[in-house]
């Protein structure tokens, strides 16, 4: 008797070399922007580096459906989620293991990144804005994403993005004018 078995293999897209090359090119193309965004979002160069690495790792594990069209936004979304949830790469130990010295990643922030992370008046005012608003204003004014793309990155609607941006600008302007005079 002939038995036919159908075996379903879950072949991840990232297993293919073409996807890996596309993703690596995309990441390298936007790596500076992602790091700039993460530095001003978190205020710490080393943490920003680890958040960007976590975002890239997430994009490799869970690739976007349309890498060419949505790849950039997907990277911003992954980095924002990593920064929001405190997901570092390499993962930081939890429990008693955190008392021991953790291995430092081989990739570290450059001196330029550390200089960029230094606090000034603008950044101080920016840090008073809540995380979502801060991310929205940075994605708009620094990364130049559209409302729809910001909504994708922040996982909200374009209308909510507009409200977020307006509120973030009002709050940032108020704080900046108070502390700059």
């Amino acid at each position: 008797m002939l038995c036919t078995h159908t075996v379903m293999l879950n072949v991840a897209p990232h297993a293919s070399s073409s996807y890996a090359s596309e993703l690596s090119g995309l990441v390298r193309e936007h790596l500076d922007e992602l790091l700039t965004y993460a530095i001003h979002l978190t205020g710490d160069a080393d943490e920003a580096m680890e958040f960007v690495a976590a975002g890239v790792y997430h994009a490799r594990r869970y690739p976007p459906a349309r890498l060419q069209s949505d790849g950039r936004v997907a990277l911003y979304r992954a980095v924002t989620r990593a920064a929001r949830n405190g997901q570092h790469f390499p993962p930081r130990p939890h429990g008693p293991a955190r008392l021991f010295r953790r291995p430092r990643p081989s990739f570290v922030a450059d001196e330029a990144a550390r200089q960029a992370a230094r606090v000034n008046t603008v950044k101080r005012a920016l840090m008073t804005v809540p995380f979502e608003r801060r991310a929205a204003i940075l994605l708009r004014d620094l990364a130049a994403l559209s409302y729809r793309e910001i909504g994708t990155a922040l996982e909200c609607s374009p209308e909510a993005t507009a409200r977020l941006l307006a509120g973030a600008r009002r709050e940032f302007g108020t704080v900046y004018r108070e502390i700059a005079l």
Binding site: S24, A112, R124, D141, R163, A166, G167, F172, Y176
Partner: protein
Amino acid sequence: MRCSLLTLSSYLDSELEARRRGEVEAHLVGCQRCRAGLGHLREDAERITALALVRISDESAMRLLQETGVLAPDEATPVAAPQPITPPWFDHAPAPAPAPAPGPGHIIPAVVIPPASSPAPGEQGFDLLGTRTPEPPAVPPAPEMEDDTDRGPEWAAAPAAEVPEAREGPAAIETPQLPLEHPEPAALEPPPGTHQSAAGETTVPNSPSWSPAPPELDEPPPLYPLTDEDVLAEPAPLERFSGGPVPARRPGLVGRIREQIAVRRALTRRHADGEESIEIVSGAGAPARRGWARVDAEPSPSMPPHVPPAPAPAGAGMPPAAHGALATGDEAGISWTADEDDAEIEMAGERVPGPALFQPMPGYEDMRPSGLRDSLNAGIGEPARAEPALAPDTSTSATPPRPLVESSPSELRDGRKLLALFGAAVLVMFVVGLKSGQSTAPAPAAESTAPAAPARAAHPSAAPSHGASANRPPSLAPTAPAAPPASALTATQNLGSGGHGFQLRDLRYGVHPGDFRVVFDLAPAAPDAAGTPTVTVGQLDPTTLVVAFAGVIASGGTGQLPTSNPVASVSLLPSSPIPGTTAYQFKLARPVQVKAYYTDSPLRLVLDLA
């Protein structure tokens, strides 16, 4: 159209549709407030855009991609030209400087720097609508990046002209000759609303305030259904990913035990201080359970009413304090002592029992001995029953119940007294037992009337006497009969040639048809032993036979007596009636005739009892 920050923000970001954008532009022509607000929004956007841009080196980028698994360890880093970031409203911004070719380990300046050519005021890319904050005069680029981390309040109070605009970091470091500010502030006229004082200082009006306005119903729908309330009111925080309130962690086992101990100790301390509102019913600090129940303030109707003692006549030997108590209207003319737990009342110089704090249960009868009860109560304020002055008033028909002090201090004293009595009883019993043990102890050898033989004294087994029964306890040895005088022996028989150095090894018995035989097995104990030892066999009375050896060491036992024989018991006398001899005493059941003789090889002494 009404003034709306949300609309202005969307207009600034070019997110409005064309018709709506035209309306906003038309509104801006006539609304100075919106022009000022739009200018502020643009300034804020410029400040955000002017934040330092970071370029990561290829080496670090390659490591990151390799560690995250995007690149294989032996794969090269794809080099991609960085794209300039240009906001849509920044359409007049010059193109960024071309980036140098990255080399290994080379760090590119971290800021995308505009060209050094300063555009004319009319060519700048901003509309300059509304009131704009007058910029301070051109500030020469700082050699170092602005770092106001350590600045204090004096910096906040500094005039605006001294505060450089925020353009930061690596740009100022790498290319200080490039303009860091949006140019032109000196060429601008003071905007309306800006006041210039006589001293030449420029004051800036406050930022425009935004207030909600009623929505326009005939307004065409915007690109996104936006309302002013969504912005002017506080936007709802988007904390969808936050974990929410985190419940406090439950304390651990050690923490819970520590808390329980602390609570118990606190309750015990408060209870000991007389705090009646807190009562410990179980566990540490709880009162001991007794045979009576506790009745606090209101006595039970079934209980006999408590009759307070009759007050003494006023002024009859009453101390001044008691007089004062009466004068102030104290009901019973009494004054409580400081220690209420003792429930003791001082009145007219006498000790009067106070009100009964605790009543016995109905039907309860104190079964304690009267002496113990009185002794216990005497120390805690209750009078002894034998004292007539403290006896309850017998004129009343109802006999007041004897107060049973149950409060914790008195109870503690009660317990201590009981414990002391118990300890004293144990001590007395111990002393009595010690004395009785001394009286039953074996008499020391020094008290013996006859000195023991040297060989016997040297032998340790010679000290106790041995009965005929093998299981006789050795404590009965002191009860051995005392040594009778040698003159008391009758019907004596003397055998032996006066030899010495022998030892009595065994004592055997034999039942024969005509007589009962007792055999003493002798063996030489010294190398010079010779002859036969001298032995004296005599009778103290018709039923007591004594066999005394001279120069013979006694053996360890007296052997096993047969069941039917005329000998009732055999014992080794501690003191022989004949000095210097080892004597055995035989208790006979009946008077017998004794025939003694020696046998040689081996040497034996044989007694035939007929």
